[in-house]
């Protein structure tokens, strides 16, 4: 099989790490771009910093044609709107929204040069619905969805696709990180799961399968889409 390179932001931990491991078993040469060191095949990268992103994309293209980009780096902050500090707002908007903008800005020309590529952004059900206490996070994820749709349309004729996974509460990554702050994390997670149509959390393996689908040519006719991975939660929403 020809070399195909995928850049995964936030690939040092959580869902990004799970996706990285999965893609490597499928023959992808994965370059991880993360603030944290993820060992060989990783580049230290603050997605908010243009020069960091440029360097990460350059490191990826050095290895072969860049055909995949997984936007998994994200942060959150929890507070009501009136208490959300300038610093928290800036950090969330810049990491979750400007980061993907910079990554796509640098990666898309490389994908065009490679004859096409696929971008998968980790969105959130919170991008489509409201979650009190997460104003910056919700705004960033909903905006990210719009950004991906724009890129999908602008580059449709370059065979560059962009899709969003709208993730519900999953057993790995952000949801676990958030619920770990509760006095009884397991009870909180069980409570959230019980309220989902499928009455369970999502699994990292299910996210990985969806990422693989969207990166591969089997989904070549799909771009600008928002795919819910949320145990049926989206069906309840307008």
């Amino acid at each position: 099989m020809d070399t195909r390179v995928c850049l995964v932001t936030g690939g040092a931990s959580g869902l990004g790490a799970a996706v990285t491991a999965q893609l490597r078993t499928e023959g992808w040469d994965v370059v991880v771009a993360d603030l944290d060191d993820a060992g060989p095949g990783s580049v230290r990268c603050d997605v908010r910093v243009d020069s960091d992103v440029a360097a990460a994309v350059a490191a990826a293209t050095e290895r072969g044609p860049l055909r995949g980009l997984v936007l998994s780096a994200a942060v959150e902050t929890r507070s009501p709107i009136v208490e959300c500090s300038d610093d928290d707002w800036r950090r969330v908007i810049d990491t979750n929204l400007k980061g993907p903008f910079l990554c796509m800005k640098h990666a898309v020309p490389a994908m065009v040069a490679a004859g096409g590529g696929s971008i998968v952004a980790m969105g959130s059900t919170l991008g489509a619905i409201v979650a009190p206490q997460y104003p910056a996070y919700c705004a960033s994820k909903y905006a990210l969805t719009n950004l991906c749709k724009q890129v999908a349309i602008e580059h449709a004729r370059d065979a560059v696709r962009a899709n969003v996974l709208s993730l519900g509460p999953t057993d790995t990554g952000l949801f676990v990180r958030l619920t770990d702050m509760a006095p009884d994390p397991e009870a909180v997670r069980a409570g959230v799961a019980a309220n989902l149509p499928m009455a369970r959390l999502g699994r990292a393996s299910e996210v990985c399968a969806a990422v693989s689908f969207l990166l591969d040519d089997g989904s070549a006719w799909t771009s600008g889409a928002v795919l819910p991975l949320d145990g049926g939660l989206a069906a309840r929403r307008m």
Partner: protein
Amino acid sequence: MTEPVLEGRVALITGAASGQGRAAARLFAEHGASIVVVDIDDAGAADTVELVEKTGGRAASMHADVSDRDAAGAMVAFATGTFGGLDVLYNNAAVQMSGTLAECTEDDWDRTIATNLDAVFWACRAAIPAMLDGDGGSIVNTASVLGLIGSEGYVAYGAAKAGLVALTRQIAVEYGPTIRANVIAPGSIDTPRFRKVADEMDDGGAFISGLTRVIPLRRLGTAEDVAGIALFLASDQSAYVSGAIIPADGGLAALR
């Protein structure tokens, strides 16, 4: 006869020196509101105040660049200091930076996000406590059809407007009992800014006629069209409406 549906209310309108903001200032004032005109264009803001006063309304202007973080607190303080409270916040100011992913520079991105998303967050964060101090209030945020659908040539603008939609619904839920928050999503509105964009095109006339042909209502919108929706959302006529997105686009979003 005009029902004074905003009698005794104080309405702060950003970007009110022209276009949709000015039309709303005039309409709100005709319906009894005291208007705080906020803009970077001092001469235009003064003209808006004069237009409002000529018809017997009350208005005061304040120079502020909403993309300046400190402007939010200052304009809310100006409103409460001048008119004794704040009941309506209409975040209308925006920059319409167009550009594809390839064209949009980091500076373009930062400026668009600052004016069209950060500024609204800052303004709401500053205004909500003032509204909670009073009898509550209504927040009206101007997004865009481009924040609801994918487009091309508006990466930063579309993303900022989408973020604004999410933020508005967040406010609607979080401050529900006392504050309502809604979105107007204008399509193609015939304002000086729109004309300027068309004039800069090679064939702006053909662009406008082509656009008009696909709009179900077969015309561009007017600033007054949008102001009418803003008035509805600002007043108690929409007392049971919150977290809504109302397109002002002649039916274009339905077509797409």
